[in-house]
Each structure stands twice: as structure tokens, then as C-alpha cells.
């Protein structure tokens, strides 16, 4: 009955040194993270992330794979002294994931906040680029918020949604696959080139679609699945699962980003509530995912298991209508305005896409990018395999305002922005107030010298005069809010006082 839930976004940024394609991306990514951490007085070393509760090999389907049979890229909890990994004062994690700097936003409860703290990550990436550029003798490092290099490689933008453990995973799979196959018409970021290595000429709706090979699976770097089964709740495991969604694109436009998390949260709510009872399963969903992506006219049809054929837009309308009947039937939404905003924008965007795709320019990433590319094609007579179009696709995502084409369009007032620039600036330094991110981020901000390590579900203090480290578990994502611990954090002169206050029963 609501769009509200604990959620967050992760972005792996593309990284490159102009003119030096062989520069070591792991080393560079480490520099990106550590230069930011150093400038903000944040500890940055291999022990500053607390891995005690991490379990990347646990599978939501109920088994755990043997560590020795795992591909090394699946082992995300190994210490590597050369890799920076920090918790930021806004409660986010900023670190090196494989060969990319990754910003994982703090936990939020509303789609607007997801967009806000995601955009704060872009601002942090920009500041990191600027700080490196100021270093004497440092080759310039650029970051790109996209998901494909056009040579065959992809890197992720993931979403995380907290769900009750009791919701059967098969229900999640059945009802989410048709939604994920089709939601790209709303939240795809657009890509020049067809196929993983862009060997085909053309434009497609999604950055990621060509990189998916299977319906359900644990992997994230190979044989990518539409539904990822990583079961690492970062919370009380008996009560929660964290749905780790790997099929999304990196969004720059606020409306697309809001709808990505907002509509997904609504669909999960309907699954949890048992509201989706029909079977909208799509035949051969991986092929359908790619067919939808490869048709920016949105006329491609998918075939449902019951034999019906319909467009991706039709499928999205079915989910929207189901959401409306779900919301109409229940009057207990704690955040009615946030839910209404998502529903109204969702309906508006689907209506526009049905009438004239181009009317979504400024709202949706893929359409805005396509309009620019079509402008170039029209003015200069460019074919889809022209290097200039591929260059525009990459430069689209440059985090620097003077080079990034999204920034150029935004500065001209051609994007509909939902988040105030001042709110984004503030979110670089400030955690969301209504989740445990408030406790985590504020501890890092106030007691940086005594925070030995931290993670999604713990803060570990090195208390002066104590021989053992003091670990504070934060396994309930909605415990540790500003309302609950704000005054204690403000009033505690030091970590000793804070720990004493935490150990004292509440009134």
C-alpha cells in the first residue's frame, strides 16, 4: 500500500585516463576513493570495512555455494590491502569493486531520497576527479556513470530493496521477471551499438540488456541473471531479505531514477501482499529483454506464457493498473504523497511513450539521449556506426559538468529535475535521518578517530583505554534514526559517553 521501504542504489563508475587505455583501473579506483577520504579526514585502509557479517555466497534459494567452487570475482569480502574502502559521513560506502570505484548509497525509505543520495554520489565522484586533477604530476582520471564500454564489458548499477523473509522467493521470481523485462522502457539509459561489443550498428533502450544470459542465478559478473539470488540481508536474516537487483541502468535523469526505484518498490509490495495473482510470465524472457531493448519504437511484442502477445508498454500498463487497484483497496499508506508522485509520473510517462516517445525527452535517459543523437544524425547525416555517435554516448555520462552532456542539457533547463541542487550538496555530508544510516554516518562524522571500522550492519569503535574493540551491531535498518539516537549522538562528548548512552535502557 506504499512506495516506502528500505532501499538503496549502488553505482560502479566507469574509469579512464584519456590517452592511456592501459592504465591500471584498480590502482586508479583506489586513488579515486582514497583522495576523497583523505580530503575529508576519513580513515581509508583495508580494515576500515567490517566484513564480519558479509556473506556474498549465500543464495536466496536456500543453499550456500562452496567458497572453493566460486569464481574469484564473487569473493567480495576478501581483504586486499591495496584497495580503499570507506564509510562516508553520509552513511554511504565508497570503495573499489573489482576495477571500478563504487558508491553505495546509504539506506533510505523513499524514492526521492534514493535519487537524492544517488545524485550525491555523482557529486562525490566529481569531487574525487577534481581532487586528483589538482595533484601535481597526476594524470587526469575521468569517471563515467554508465554501464558499458562498447568493447564487451559491463559494470553495474544495482538496487537494493529490503523485503520480509516470509515472502516466497518463487513468487518474487514469477512476478518480477515480466516487470524487469519491460521496465527498461521507463528507466533504460540508452546505448549506441547492438550486442555486448557493439558490433551491430544502432541504438537500443538499455545499457545492460545485452549482458544478461539467464533468468535466475547467484552470479553478478558472469552469466548475469535477470533475478539475482544473492542473499546477504545486511540485517536480521530471520526477518529480512535484501533483494539485490542487478538489471538496472545508471540513471542521470531524476524522473527515470525515481520511477526505477518507486515502481519496483510498488511491485514488490504487491508481491508481498499477494495482490498479483495472474501469471504474466514472458516466454524466453532473456530474448524478450533484448528484443525490447533493441526496439526504440516500442513496437516489439513479447509473448506471454498464456499465448497473449503485447508490447513492453502494455505489460507496464498491467503492472500500473494492478498497483492502482492495490492502492485503492488499502488506505494505510504512511507516505501517500510519495506514493502518489510515483503513480502519477508512471502513468504520465507511459501515456507519453504511447503517444510520442520524444515527449519523454528531459524525463527519461534513453529518450533524452536518443533525441540528441537523432539531432546529430539529422544535422550531419551520421550513420549509427559513426564514431561521433559512440563518443556522444560515452561523453553523455562524464561526471564533469563542463564535459558531461547530461550536465550540459541540465544547465540549459532541458531536464525535469526533482531534487534541489542544495539538497544534493547537503546529502554528500549528511545521512538520511530515518534509517540506521543516520547512526553510521553520524558516528563517522563525529567520532572519526575512534571508528575502527564500520559496515552496513555494524560500527566498531576503538575506545581509548579499552583493550578490546567495541562493536555496535545495527542489524535493524530502521533502528538508529535521528529520532531515536540523534540527541544521544549530539550530546555525547566522546565515544565512551556514546557507548554508555547506548547501553542505558531507553525511558
Amino acid at each position: 500500500m506504499t512506495v516506502r521501504r528500505i532501499m538503496g542504489l549502488e553505482t560502479e563508475y566507469g574509469i579512464s585516463v584519456p590517452g592511456d587505455p592501459l592504465a591500471n583501473p584498480m590502482f586508479l579506483s583506489g586513488q579515486v576513493v582514497s583522495v576523497y577520504a583523505a580530503a575529508h579526514g576519513i580513515r581509508s585502509n583495508q580494515s576500515s570495512w567490517d566484513y564480519a557479517f558479509e556473506d556474498p555466497l549465500r543464495d536466496a534459494r536456500g543453499w550456500q555455494i562452496d567458497r572453493q567452487s566460486a569464481d574469484p570475482s564473487q569473493l567480495t569480502d576478501l581483504d586486499d590491502p591495496s584497495l580503499a574502502n570507506v564509510v562516508l559521513p553520509n552513511g554511504a560506502r565508497y570503495y573499489v569493486d573489482h576495477a571500478h570505484p563504487e558508491y553505495s548509497s546509504p539506506e533510505v525509505t523513499l524514492p526521492r531520497d534514493a535519487v537524492r543520495w544517488d545524485r550525491a554520489g555523482d557529486a562525490i565522484a566529481l569531487e574525487s576527479v577534481r581532487l586528483l586533477a589538482e595533484r601535481p604530476g597526476q594524470a587526469p582520471v575521468n569517471l563515467y556513470k554508465n554501464n558499458a564500454d562498447g568493447k564487451g564489458q559491463s559494470y553495474g548499477t544495482h538496487e537494493n530493496y529490503l523485503m520480509p523473509r516470509r515472502t516466497p522467493f518463487p513468487d518474487i521470481i514469477r512476478h518480477l521477471i515480466p516487470f524487469f523485462v519491460t521496465r527498461q522502457v521507463v528507466c533504460g539509459a540508452g546505448r549506441v551499438g547492438l550486442g555486448v561489443d557493439s558490433r551491430g550498428a544502432g541504438f537500443q533502450v538499455s545499457q545492460r540488456a545485452d549482458f544478461f544470459e539467464t533468468e535466475v542465478g547467484l552470479e553478478t559478473t558472469l552469466k548475469r541473471p535477470i533475478i539475482n539470488t544473492r542473499d546477504e540481508p545486511h540485517a536480521v536474516a530471520d526477518r529480512y531479505r535484501r533483494l539485490h537487483v542487478i538489471i538496472g541502468d545508471a540513471n542521470h535523469l531524476d524522473v527515470a531514477s525515481l520511477l526505477k526505484v518507486g515502481t519496483t518498490s510498488l511491485v514488490l509490495g504487491m508481491i508481498e501482499d499477494g495482490h498479483l495473482r495472474g501469471d504474466w510470465s514472458i516466454r524466453r524472457p532473456v530474448a524478450a529483454l533484448q528484443a525490447v531493448s533493441h526496439d526504440p519504437t516500442l513496437s516489439a511484442h513479447v509473448e506471454l506464457a498464456d499465448g497473449r502477445t503485447m508490447t513492453a508498454l502494455d505489460v507496464q500498463w498491467m503492472y500500473l493498473e494492478a498497483a492502482r487497484s492495490w492502492l485503492d483497496a488499502r488506505g494505510d499508506d504512511p507516505e501517500p504523497e510519495a506514493t502518489a508522485e510515483v503513480m502519477e509520473l508512471w502513468e504520465d510517462v507511459l501515456g507519453r511513450l504511447g503517444r510520442d516517445v520524444m515527449t519523454c525527452s528531459g524525463l527519461l535517459d534513453w529518450v533524452t539521449k536518443l533525441e540528441l543523437l537523432e539531432g546529430y544524425r539529422s544535422r550531419d547525416g551520421l550513420a549509427w556506426d559513426d564514431h561521433r555517435l559512440a563518443a556522444i554516448d560515452i561523453q553523455w555520462a562524464d561526471v564533469r559538468p563542463e564535459k558531461g552532456l547530461v550536465h550540459r542539457l541540465r544547465d540549459r533547463g532541458r531536464t525535469r529535475d526533482l531534487i534541489d541542487p542544495e539538497a544534493i550538496r547537503e546529502a554528500r555530508e549528511t545521512p538520511p535521518e530515518d534509517t540506521r544510516a543516520w547512526f553510521r554516518g553520524t558516528c563517522v562524522k563525529r567520532f572519526s578517530g575512534q571508528v575502527f571500522s564500520a559496515s552496513w550492519d555494524s560500527v566498531v569503535f576503538d575506545v581509548p583505554g579499552r583493550t578490546s574493540l567495541q562493536r555496535v551491531p545495527i542489524l535493524e535498518p530502521e533502528r538508529g534514526t535521528r529520532a531515536q539516537v540523534g540527541s544521544l549522538l549530539e550530546e555525547s562528548e566522546d565515544v565512551v559517553a556514546l557507548l554508555h548512552g547506548l547501553a542505558t535502557p531507553e525511558d
Partner: protein
Amino acid sequence: MPGQEHAKPQRRDEEPPEAPEAPPAPPAGAAVKEGLSDDIDSVLDEIDGVLEANAEEFVRGFVQKGGQ
């Protein structure tokens, strides 16, 4: 829940649901300008000024290691 099984969802827009959709993708090199905003030319003029000078080299140099 009744009402969920219909093949055609109820679209709540003013236009007839079968109105022609977006113009079909034009053939390579013969892009049409219909549907693009009127001031797209001035946008292109500005963007010309920030585009990487050597597009081919820029594209070739953008090489990433795979991620998640």
C-alpha cells in the same frame, strides 16, 4: 483479484490506445527530424564545443574491465 486478467490494460490517457507510436527508426544516415524539439540546433551548437575532438580515438580509448 478480478480485473487483472484482461489482455488489454485500461489506459487512462486521452489518446486512442492504438494511435501511431513513435516514428520508426530511420535508416542509417537518413535521420528524420520529426519529433525533435525546435531548438535542438542550438543545443547541438553548444555541445559541438565540448565534444572530444577526436571521436574515434576517444571511443577506442574508453576501455573498461568488467564489473558486476
